[in-house]
Each structure stands twice: as C-alpha cells, then as structure tokens.
Amino acid sequence: MLDTEHFFDNPSDIVESDEVASSLRTIMIRPGVRRRGLLFFTTLLCSVLVIAAGVVVWFWGYPAQRNNPGFWHFSLISMLFWLSVTQGMVAVSAILRLAHASWRYMLNRVADVASLFGFWVFAILPFLVVARGRIYVLGASAHSNNVWRTAGSMLFDSLAIGTAYLAGWMLLYLTSIPDFGALRDKLPADSKKQHFYRRIALSWQGAAKQWRTLRLAEGVMVFGVIVSFVASQTVQGWDFQLASARDWDSSIFAPLYTVGSLLGGLALTALVATATSHAAKLPNLVTSLHYDNLGRFMIGLGLVWFYFRWCDYLTAWYGNIPEEWALQNNRVTAFPILAAVMVIGCFVVPVFGNMFRAIRTSPVGLCTISVCVLIGLAVQRFLDTVPTFAPNYPLSALIPSAATILVFAGLSGMFVLTYLVAARYFPVVSWWGLSKRLSRMHESTLGNGSVDVMLEDPPIWET
C-alpha cells in the first residue's frame, strides 16, 4: 500500500539544500558591522534604550525615588513579566520536543535562545528582590504578611528561577554542539573563529555513539527544563497567593502563572520566529504549517488561562466573603478598562482570533494576536499586585510614570539585544534538527491521493 523505499537515500543533498546551508552561511561569512540596514538600526536603538534605562534607575531612581514604592513596584513587575515570558518560551520548545511535534525543528533553536535573557535577570533581579521588603512596606503594615514574605518565599524564588534558567542554558548548549561541530569543519582552517568553534564543539565528529548520548542528554534535559519551569512559575504564583490578602489565599495562582507564561512564551516565539525569518532572509523558515500549529496551541492555552481565571473569580463571587470579594471587586470594578484589556488580550483574541484559518495561517494575523496576548499578560501582572494594595497605597504611586515606561522599554531592549548577540554565535536554525526532519518525511502516493509518510521516531530518551 505505501511505497516506503526512499527514506535516508540521499542524506548528502539534504544537508546541501538551501534552507539548511543558508542558516550556517549567515554565521560563517558573518558580515562586518555594516553602518546601515535594519539590523544595525535595531541594535543601536536597543542599546540606547538599555543604557538610558540604566542611567534613569541608578542616577535618578535610586536617590530620588527611594521612598516612592510605585517606581520600584513597576520595575519589579516588568522584570517579572519578561522573566516569565522568556522562561515560557524555553518551556514551549521543551514541550514540543516531548510531544514529537513534526513542526518543532524550526522553532526549537529560536525559542531556546530566550534562556540567555537569564544573564540580564541574574544581574538585576537580586537588587529588586532585596528591596522587595521595603517596596511593599505599606502593604506589609496593613496585612500582617506582605506580598513577598521576606522569610520564606525569597529563598524559594531565587532558587527556582535560577535553576529554570540554568536548565535552559544547558539544553541550548547541548543541542547546538553538532552545529558548532559543523561550523568548525566548514570554517577556513585556523582562523580565529575556527579556533573558537573547535574549542566549544568539544571534539564532536558525529559518531553514532555521540548522537545516541546527545539524544539521551536531550531527553533528560527536556524533563529538567519543564520541571524547573513549573517550579519557578509556581513559586512566583505562590508569592502572590500566599500572602496577597490576609484571609484570601486563592490557591489557583500557581497554575494560573504557569499557563500565563506558557501562553506568553508561545506568543513571543511566534513573533521572534517571524522576525528572524525576515532578518535572515529565509522566507520558508517559518511556513504556514508552523503558524497553523502555533495558532492551535494558542487556542488551547488561551482557553486554559481563562478557565483558571474564571475559577478564581467565581469562587470569590459565590463565597461572598467580604475580604475576598473586596479583592476581586477591586480588581474588576476599580480597574475596569485594565480588566477588560487583560481578558480580551489573553482570551478573546487568541481563542476566537485563531479559530479562523485565514487569520491563523497568515504571519501578520498571528503576530497581531501575539502582541495582544503579551499586552494582556503584562496587564495581568499589574492587576494581580496593585488591587491588593490599592486600599492603602496612593493610587498615584501605582500609575505608570514616564520613568517606569522607560524602564520597561529598557528591559524589552535587553530582550532584543540578547537575540541580536546570540544570532552571531548560534545558527538561526539547528542544522542537524532540520536535516533530521527532511530525511524522515516525504510525499508518497496512495491510491489516487498523495499523503506524506513519516518515520515514527521512538520516545525521545530511547536510544
């Protein structure tokens, strides 16, 4: 019935095919820093933003805003937002690996590079976490335990977030060793770059034993990434839940934040994948198949996010206990526009927008949906902290000022910079992943129709 002969019969010309080779070529010939062009302009803009944010925080924020909790609260919220979204991207690519999604190879590398944002987090978060007790001093006085219980959660916080990023780095390095090996072989003999890649390629010759250990390592690391991601998001959720209001510990916050960051990660992966395919001028890097599947995944996550949010609201509404209902009411009626933006951004747009195939499969459609999702998630961060303190905080302290928006822009600049720098060292698409996919699936005719036949690859950790 199925003509199943020609698998793997021409590995050499798969490797030479344009997509695969082009991703390596951009690294090898690495153009000098050209003065004009889109890439150069974005690098310039982002570095200016980052420096400006740094200057504002250190030379104006630290001395002048010492006792204005609103400023520090905002920078902490935007840092936590970027932290959760980057970890979400790494977790999304790990989940796709675990589920053997046939369309994952293009997106894996793009999503894994997000774990490099961890360097910025390690640099900035300790200062904000230490200052947390002081930021929410007003919050603490009203409720006996403030948002971030200085004793317990801070230890869990740094531990969990750290391991999540470490796992991301290891997975990224492991899966790019074959790429470094390929680059080492393709680069001219003893140029400086070639020495660099020979050192980090750790004597990789592509031997069968090496491939098998790489597979096993990748399998173990995928579990590591997912578990540490869930732990890190749970601890952030518990920060809000364990002490947000004296009697109301809505235990839904841990899964709510895990799904929220997955949703954000998915949205950002779509955005970054489109951007890289335009920047690297590889039009068929991200095909409509990828957008279709990304859209479906986003529908699922949007539904689960709304489901958790609805559980939280309904339990408070039905219980009618004043303390809990005041918190929910504060969130929905005190900030009606923000609550509407959050629900529309995180639920209505991704779920109902992605239901139409036309929107889902067009890059423009999916990117607009992703931007709405990210806005919704940022607003959700704000809505979960501000109402808890709205009664005893001057509302003016919680409205974003010009300085805090600059800090947020600085953080986004950091995120873009991570990608621009990483693109010079990691090939945009994992060279070996792509060739693996192309050799395992091909068209074949069955009866009058044509179907594509693919090898069923065994579970990821089975060598």
Binding site: V230, D249, S250, R296, Y307, V451, D452, L455
Partner: protein
C-alpha cells in the same frame, strides 16, 4: 502488500467472536456482578425505608459515601473521552485499538455516576424536582445552586458521550449485520441505520467525529469542574479553594487512566485480544498515567501546602484533623497513589507487562477513592462552630460495592452486544501504518493524519 481482504477477514472473525459466542465464563461473570448489584439495591431499598441515618453522616459533615462514590465514578467516566478525544486530537496512532473499550467504560461509569445524586438525597423519591419541568405550582429548580449545574453537566456529558460512542459504532454494526442472522440481524440492521460504507458516509463520519472530538473535551472538563465547584462554592474552610476545579479534573483523569489500564488488561485476557492490544499500548497508557499522576500531585500539594503555609486559623483545623484522625486515609493515598505508580511506572519492562499495569491501575483507583474521602469528609467535619466525625457503616460500604457490581454488570452486558475493539479503526490502522527497513533496522512508518477540522 498482501491480500487486504484476507487480513480484514480474520480481523472480523477475531473481533466479533466476543459478540457472537457467549462462553460459560461470561455467564459466571455476569451472574456474579448481578448478585453484587442485587445486594447493593437491597441496601438502597433498606435506606429508602429506614431513612438516611443508616449512613454514618452527622451534623457538621452532611455528605458521605454517596457523594464520595458520585465524585469517584464521575472521575472514572472521564477516561474514555480522554483516551479517544485527546489522543485523536494529538494524532496518536496507537489509540485505535483501545478507543471502543474505553468509551464503553465511560458510558457505563457515567450511568453509575448518574445514579448517585438520587441515592444521596434525603427524600430520594422526589428527585425529579431537580428537573426543570413546567408544573402547576409554577416552581422551577434553582439554577444558582452548584447541584443544579451538576445535574445539567452530567446529562450533557451523558448525551455527548453516548453520541460519540454511537457514531463510532455504526460501521461495526453494519459488519455485524452482514455476519449475523435471525433476531441479531434485525437488531443490528436497525442499529446500523442502513450503513453502506460509501466514501460519502465515511467522509461525513470523519467530519462528525472530528467536531465531536473537539467539542467533547470542554464538556468533560466542565463536568468535573462543576463537580469540583460543588465543594469550591461552599464557604467551608477546607472546601473554599479556587484550585478545586482543575484539581478535580486532574484527579478524575488520574483515576480514569488507571481504570483504562484495568479494563485493557481484563478485556485482553477475557476475549483473547493479545494480537490487538500490544505491550506498546500498555506502555503508552502507563506514560499517560505517570504524567497525570505528577500533575495531580502538583495540584494536591499546591492546595494542601497553601493552607499550611499561610497558617490561616480556620484552614489549619482540617489539616490538623487530616494528619490526626484521618492519618490512615492519607497514608493509603500516599502509598497507593504516589509511591506505587512512581516506583513501577519508570521501568519499561514493568510498563509493558499487562498484569503489572493491572496492579498499578487498581492501586491508582484505590488511592483516588481515598483521595475523594480526604476531600469530602475532613473539611466538613472541622466546620466553624461545630466539629464532628464520620465513620462509614455497613450500608455505606455495601452501596460502594453495589456500585462496582452495577458497573461490572453493565460492562459485561454491553460487551455482549458491541465488539470491544473498533473494527473499522483497526482496519484503518492497517491501511495507514507499515514497517520499512531502513539500513538494518525495522522502523514503523505512518501517514501523517491531516489536521482535525
């Protein structure tokens, strides 16, 4: 490629053997479950006559064995749709041979679960007041109450799972219609709705099963969220948690997956389906059990941990009671629900042996039954101003056993009328899968199913 008709010839023969020949052991099994069911109904009639106090309930905790059984059986009822709906959405090819038996598991478990809201009432004979029928007094049921959400969710899920099950059965009834004579022929030709197997019919069947797959997943998730909201909506300190809805869904999936393992092993042994249910199926279902087990533990720990860490005075009472009076329930839960699966499931040799998986399935279900006890009883017995206790009486126990009897009775009865492995899905699997020799390895090949809907 070999003669297709010869292969489907003996597929038909194997899979309809269970339907056409009734062996002595089937009768023994049927009568055993019948007696257990009779004992259970007898106890229900005794409770009807004597009143609710035959159970062990008392003032602070008003809910006991009937609600625990209701939540447990509604949980088991989730397994069938999970296996056939979610795995079809994920294009897992190996689901084909076990979809039918798990969907029958869903329908039978749901019929059992539907009975318990009636058994649990104080005045069981007026249960129909929960139904919104227009009556002379102009009274309607109160749709603000979570119990009414329950009644709606159960009936919606019952209707949709029966439709989902029946739409998969029509082609098999057509095959049975062509292979039987006499009253069976009349029955099956009536059930098969004049199915011819034309490609238009196949296309419509695929269309409707695609839509049903996509729509039945929110239905079964909403069934168990509403069962969770029965407790989540009250203001009893232990129950008033916003995590109860997803926690109940995970608990249901966990005990459902365990029940799937049990049914797969028993049906494989009873109808000699060794060629159809391969160790590979046990391996994959065991992996699902492990993942959902970890997810369930995440929710269970999250719920209990958050109460303990905030040391909220009202929430701490039920935890102290759980670790004190109900220590044994917690220990059985920890041993059967966490230790046994986590020790046996990581090993491939154990995962592929059917009898080991039967043991794991049974232990998971024991654990999830105790978990329902832990969720229902300790919180209510440590309410605000009055504390109480709950010791099950013989009527509680016999109602629970009666429920298992009813489930077994229904399942053996249904397995006499429908083939427990869906014929057309298995044949479709034969068409689509193949094995190819690549280098010197035999690698399975499959056609990538086009996306659903």
């Amino acid at each position: 490629m070999g003669d297709m008709t010869q292969k489907s010839e003996d597929i038909n023969k194997d899979l309809t053997r269970g339907v056409l020949q009734t062996t002595r052991s089937w009768w023994m099994c049927f009568l055993f479950f019948g007696t257990v069911l009779a004992w259970g109904t007898g106890c229900f009639v005794w409770q009807l006559v004597h009143g609710i106090d035959v159970y062990g309930m008392e003032r602070p905790n008003y809910w006991g064995a009937p609600i625990i059984n209701f939540v447990y059986w509604a949980g088991v009822a989730l397994s069938g749709t999970m296996i056939s709906a979610i795995l079809r959405l994920l294009h897992a090819g190996w689901r084909r041979s076990i979809t039918r038996m798990t969907e029958t598991l869903t329908v039978c478990a749901l019929l059992v679960a539907g009975l318990f809201p009636i058994i649990h009432l104080g005045r069981n004979w007026v249960f129909f007041w929960l139904v919104p029928y227009p009556n002379e007094r102009g009274l309607w049921p109160n749709y603000k109450s979570p119990l009414l959400w329950d009644a709606t969710a159960i009936s919606v899920y019952l209707v949709s799972s029966v439709l989902f099950w029946y739409s998969g059965l029509i082609p098999d009834f057509a095959v049975l219609r062509d292979r039987t004579t006499g009253w069976r022929h009349e029955l099956y030709s009536m059930l098969a709705l004049k199915w011819k197997g034309s490609d238009r019919e196949w296309k419509r069947l695929r269309g409707v099963s695609a839509i049903l797959t996509v729509m039945i997943i929110p239905v079964f998730v909403s069934l168990h969220t509403i069962v969770g909201w029965d407790f989540g909506m009250s203001i009893v300190p232990g129950w008033h948690e916003s995590i109860f809805a997803p926690y109940f869904v995970c608990g249901a999936l966990y005990s459902g997956a365990g029940a799937v393992l049990v049914i797969m092993c028993l049906v494989r042994r009873a109808y000699h389906l060794e060629k159809y249910i391969l160790p590979k199926h046990f391996d994959n279902v065991a992996k699902i059990v492990m993942t959902i087990g970890l997810l369930w533990f995440y929710f269970f720990a999250g719920d209990a941990w958050s109460d303990w860490f905030t040391e909220d005075p009202t929430h701490i009472n039920w935890l102290v009671y759980l670790f004190g009076g109900y220590k044994w329930a917690l220990i059985t839960l920890a041993f059967f629900g966490m230790l046994v699966p986590l020790v046996t499931l990581p090993f491939k040799r154990l995962r592929t042996s059917p009898w080991a998986m039967l043991a794991v399935g049974v232990s998971v279900n024991i654990a999830m039954f105790t978990e329902r006890i832990i969720v229902v009883v300790p919180e209510a017995s440590r309410s605000w101003l009055a504390w109480g206790d709950y010791t099950p009486t013989w009527v509680d126990v016999s109602i629970t056993i009666g429920a298992f009897g009813l489930f077994g009775f229904l399942y053996t009865l249904l397995s006499k009328f429908i083939p427990l492995v869906s014929l057309w899905e298995f044949k479709e699997g034969e068409v689509v899968d193949a094995v190819v020799t690549v280098g010197n390895a035999q690698v399975p090949v499959t056609v990538r199913e086009e996306a659903i809907g």
